[in-house]
Symmetry: C2
Subunit: 524 residues, 2 copies
C-alpha cells in the first residue's frame, strides 16, 4: 500500500536491538541480471490505449548504438519488460572535440505515459521527487557512468538537452543491471491448464520478483518500503513460488525491531540509512503481523522465530481488543486509522471488525499449537465479536452489514465480515451473491481490496466465480499490456489515482501479485 498521511512525530518509539540483530543476520543476497534495450520506440497518442499512448517501433537496439544525436533530440528505449535496477551507459562524442559538457536528461517510466507527459505538469499530492528522472552533465567524453539511484522502468527516455554545435553524441553501450532477491531457478511449475490464468500467474510472479529486494517492498518505483499489509500478501505468494522464507522472517523481525511505547507495530518500516519505523499506525496492518506469523510458522515450523515473535503478535491483539466497545464492536472515531482500501468515503469500522476477528482466528490457530493457555480466551473473544457483528452491524432490510454511525454499506464491510467467518456459510454465500447483484455505492478501488473479495469467494467455495473475477480484473491488466500488476486499476476509470496523477501510480505493486497464490493454492 502507500501511506495514509499521519504525522505523529512526537511519539516515543522503542528500539529492540536483539530483534534488529536477527533481521540483519539474514540480509538477502541480490541476484543480478543485465537487461539490454529491445527496441527504440516513438510514442503515438492513442485514446484506445489505457494510458493514452501506443509505442511504435522506430529502430532496433543495434541501430540505436549507431545513432548520432544532436542537441534537442531524444530517444525512447523499450527494455521489453518491467525492470528494477541500475542504469549503466557509455557514450562518446562525434565530430570536433567536445567543447562543452553534454547535458543529458534521463526519464524512467514504468509506462509510456511517464516518459511522454511532462513531469512539469504533475500536480498530484505525493511528492514529485518520486518521478524518476536525472539530469547528467558530462564534462568529459567519452564517458562511462552508472547512475547511483535504482530505477524502475520498462521505458527510458533520454533527452539530449544540450551539447554544442561542434559535436554530436553516440551511445556505445547501455544496459540495466537489474536486481531482485527472488531466485526463479527452483520455481515450481504452475499446474493450471488455463492459458489466461497461466499468463496471469507469470505476470504476478514478475510483479513479486521485482518487489523482492532487501525487503519485500510495496512497489519498487514508489515507496520502496516494507509495509505490513503488502508483506502479508507477498508472503502468501512467496510460499507457493520462490519460497524465500528467510526474507519473510527478516521482515517480521524488522517490524518487531521498533515499536510504539505501548508495543503497537508501525504500518511500515524504513530500512535505510538505518531501520526506522514510520510514525504511521494502522489498526488492520498491526493485526496482520499475527496473520503473517501464522502463515510463516505453518510453512516453516520455525519454533524459535515463533517463540520470539509470538509475544509481539499477542501485543497487537491486546491493543486491538482495547478498541472494542461495550457493544462488542471496534469503536469508530475520527482520529483512528485503518487502511482497508484506498477510498476516501469508505467507513472502515465494519471491515476493521472483520480484520480483528480474522486475525483472532489466526491467533487461535497458533495458540492451539504453541500457547494453549490462550485458546479459551480467544474462542470467547471470537464468539462474542461475531455475535456483536450480527447484532450491531447487520441490516436485515438491505441484507448487508453496515458500518459507522451513518450505517454505510460498502463492499469492504461485507468482504471482511465473510473473511471473519461471521454468520453461516450459507448466509455468507448469499451475501456475496447479493454483493454482485446489488452492488453498493461504495465499491472496491484497488487490487488489494479485490484480493480480499476473491479470497472471500474462495472462503465460501465459489471457485468458479473467483476464477472469473481473477480473469476479469487481473486479466484485463494483462490485456492492457501489463507485464507486472498495478497498484491501482479501475476498469471504468483507467486514469484513476488516489494521488491526483496516474504518473505517480505504481505499476508494479506487491499487493497485486496474489493471483499466483489463488491459482496455485486452489489449483484453479
Amino acid at each position: 500500500m502507500s501511506q495514509a498521511l499521519q504525522q505523529n512525530q512526537h511519539l516515543n518509539m522503542v528500539r529492540h536491538p536483539q530483534m534488529l540483530a536477527r533481521a540483519e543476520e539474514i540480509a538477502p543476497e541480490l541476484y543480478h541480471r543485465d537487461i539490454f534495450p529491445q527496441a527504440i520506440v516513438s510514442a503515438q497518442k492513442d485514446e484506445q490505449k489505457i494510458h493514452g499512448w501506443r509505442p511504435e517501433r522506430v529502430n532496433t537496439a543495434a541501430g540505436f548504438l549507431q545513432q548520432e544525436f544532436a542537441q534537442g533530440e531524444h530517444v525512447i528505449i523499450d527494455f521489453g519488460e518491467h525492470c528494477v535496477g541500475y542504469l549503466e551507459f557509455a557514450c562518446e562524442s562525434v565530430g570536433s572535440p567536445p567543447d562543452a559538457p553534454a547535458h543529458l536528461q534521463f526519464i524512467f517510466g514504468e509506462t509510456l505515459a511517464e516518459v511522454v507527459e511532462p513531469f512539469s505538469d504533475y500536480s498530484g499530492w505525493l511528492s514529485s521527487s518520486w518521478l524518476q528522472q536525472q539530469d547528467c552533465y558530462l564534462d568529459e567524453l567519452p564517458h562511462r557512468m552508472r547512475l547511483p539511484r535504482r530505477y524502475c522502468c520498462r521505458y527510458l527516455r533520454i533527452n539530449i538537452v544540450a551539447l554544442s554545435r561542434k559535436f554530436r553524441l553516440r551511445f556505445t553501450s547501455l544496459k540495466l543491471d537489474t536486481v531482485t532477491s527472488a531466485s526463479l531457478v527452483a520455481l515450481p511449475q504452475c499446474q493450471t491448464m488455463d492459458h489466461p490464468l497461466k499468463r496471469i500467474d507469470e505476470v504476478a510472479i514478475h510483479t513479486l520478483k521485482n518487489c523482492m529486494q532487501e525487503v519485500f517492498e510495496d512497489g519498487p518505483k514508489r515507496d520502496r518500503r516494507l509495509w505490513l499489509g503488502d508483506l502479508r500478501l507477498q508472503a502468501l505468494v512467496n510460499d507457493v513460488t520462490v519460497k524465500n522464507y528467510p526474507l519473510v522472517k527478516r521482515c517480521l523481525y524488522l517490524f518487531a525491531a521498533m515499536t510504539r511505547e505501548d508495543g503497537m507495530l508501525s504500518a511500515n518500516i524504513f530500512v535505510k540509512p538505518q531501520v526506522i519505523a514510520d510514525d504511521t499506525f494502522l489498526f488492520d496492518y498491526a493485526l496482520f503481523f499475527v496473520d503473517v506469523l501464522q502463515d510463516y510458522a505453518a510453512a516453516t515450523h520455525d519454533r524459535q522465530t515463533l517463540a520470539e515473535l509470538w509475544p509481539v503478535a499477542w501485543q497487537q491483539i491486546e491493543i486491538a481488543l482495547a478498541r472494542v466497545g461495550e457493544n462488542g464492536i471496534v469503536r469508530d472515531s475520527s482520529d483512528w486509522w485503518s487502511f482497508i482500501d484506498w477510498h476516501e468515503d469508505l467507513n472502515k469500522q465494519a471491515a476493521s471488525q472483520g480484520v480483528l476477528i480474522y486475525c483472532l482466528n489466526k491467533a487461535l490457530m497458533l495458540a492451539r499449537l504453541y500457547d494453549t493457555g490462550k485458546v479459551a480466551f480467544l474462542e470467547e473473544q471470537i464468539s462474542s465479536l461475531k455475535t456483536a457483528s450480527l447484532r450491531e452491524l447487520w441490516d436485515a432490510q438491505s441484507g448487508f452489514f453496515t458500518s459507522g454511525e451513518s450505517r454505510q454499506i460498502s463492499c469492504a464491510s461485507q468482504v471482511w465480515l465473510v473473511l471473519a467467518d461471521v454468520g453461516t456459510v450459507e448466509s455468507q454465500q448469499q451475501l456475496l451473491v447479493r454483493l454482485k447483484s446489488h452492488p453498493p455505492e461504495i465499491q472496491m478501488n484497488t487490487p488489494y481490496m479485490m484480493h480480499h473479495y476473491v479470497a472471500a469467494l474462495l472462503h465460501v467455495n465459489e471457485i468458479e466465480q473467483a476464477t472469473e473475477e481473477i480473469k476479469g480484473y487481473w486479466g484485463a491488466m494483462v490485456e492492457h499490456g501489463a507485464d507486472t500488476f498495478w497498484e491501482l486499476f479501475d476498469p471504468q476509470r483507467p486514469d484513476f489515482s488516489p494521488y491526483g496523477s496516474k504518473l505517480i501510480n505504481s505499476y508494479c505493486h506487491a499487493w497485486s501479485c496474489t493471483p499466483s497464490w489463488f491459482i496455485r493454492k486452489y489449483l484453479l
Copy 2:
C-alpha cells in the same frame, strides 16, 4: 578567450608523445581550502546595479544551519568571494521519517543574476550545458554528499524542489572545497602606494589564482580550457606573483604535444579525459607560442625546455610568414581566423600584421641568445614587414593605420602596430593620443584588448595615461563589486555578451588578470 566556431574535424593531427610525457611529469599539486557560507541573502531587483540585482543579507551562516526548509522554499548562500571548487553538504530530515526522496536543485552563480534569472529563458548560442546546475534526489536521509563536478561561484542557490508533507529539511553542514594550483604563501608584496591600484592588484591575483588549476584555464566556469592567448597573459602575471613556472612549462609542452600536420599549434587544448588539441586554429594565438616561450626562458633560463620547444616556435613563424603577401602584408581572406578581439565587425588584417612583427621581435630576442644563425633573417623580415605596414596600411589623411580591403580603421589595428614598434616612438605616441581624441568606430570590446591598449601606452612611456586606463576600466569592475575580473566588460553596455546572454559570460577570466603585471612590472 573562448572559441570562435571553427569545425575542422577531418584534419589529421599528429601526436608527439615525448612532449606529452614532459607535460605529464609536472602535473601540478592542487591546494585545497575550505570556504564556508558567509551570509544568506535575498536578491533585490535594482536597476542601478550592473547586473540588475542587489544582495540583501537576510540571515547569518549560523542561522542557515538552524533553518528548516519546506518543499518549494529556497535559499541563496553568499560565500563572500569568488570560489572554484567542490560542494560538500550534509542534510537531515526534521519531522516524521522521510517518506519520499528529497529533490534539491543547486544553482551556482558567479553573479547574483545567474541564481535569480531562470536558465530556462537562456537563449545564447553557447551550450546551455555550461549553466551551472545540478538536481539531486536523496533517497536516504540524513545524507552527506560531495557533488562530483567542479563549480565556480560566489552565490549558491538551493531550491527545495520537493520533499513530502511529512518532513522538512535542515542542512547540518555545507562548504566549498576550493582548489587552485597557485600558492599565495610566498606572494611578493605589491609596492604600489595607490589604494585603488592595490585593490585592483588583489582582484587580479584572485582572478589568476582561480584560473590556475591543472592548467592555466581561460575561465573556471566556462570553457575551463587551456587557450594560448590566455596562457600568454597568465604567464606574465604568474611571473610577478605566484611564480609557478612549472605550470607554464607544462602548458607549453601540452600545446607542443599535438599539432596539425603542417606543425601549426591549435588555439586550445582539452586535457581530459586525454590531451586533445582542438580543431580551432588562430593565426595570432599560434604565434604567441613564441612570446610565451621567450618570457618563460627569460625568467627561468631553462635551456633544456628552450632547446626542445624552439623548433616548435620556429614552425609557427614559418607558417605565419607563408601568409605574407608580395606587398609585405599578411594576406586577408574570408577563410582565415585570427582572434584579436571579440568583435563581429573587426577586420583583423592590420592587427595580425602587428602580432606577427611583435612575435618576430620576441623570436629575435631568443635567436640572439640561443640561435644566432637566425638573427639576420629575422632582422630582415621585421624590417620589411614594418616598412610594408607603413607603406600599405598607413592612411596619412586620417592619421591611422587601416585594415582590409575596406580600409577599416579600428583601435585594434593601431594598438597592435604600436606594440609591433612600427614607426618612430614619437609617431606611436601621437597615434595613441589621436586614438583617444578621435576614437574610431571600431572600439575595443574585451579586457583582453584593453590589456594590449595599456601595454601600447606603456610601450610609448605614457605611464600616467596607462594608470588612468587601468583605474578607469578595471577599477570600474571593482566598483561594481567584482572580486575577480570579468571576461567581458563594456562600461557602456553592462549586459554585453558576444554569446547572446550575460548569464553565460565568464566572471573570472584569465585574460583580465593583467593589471597585476602592469602594476608590479612598471611599478605604477
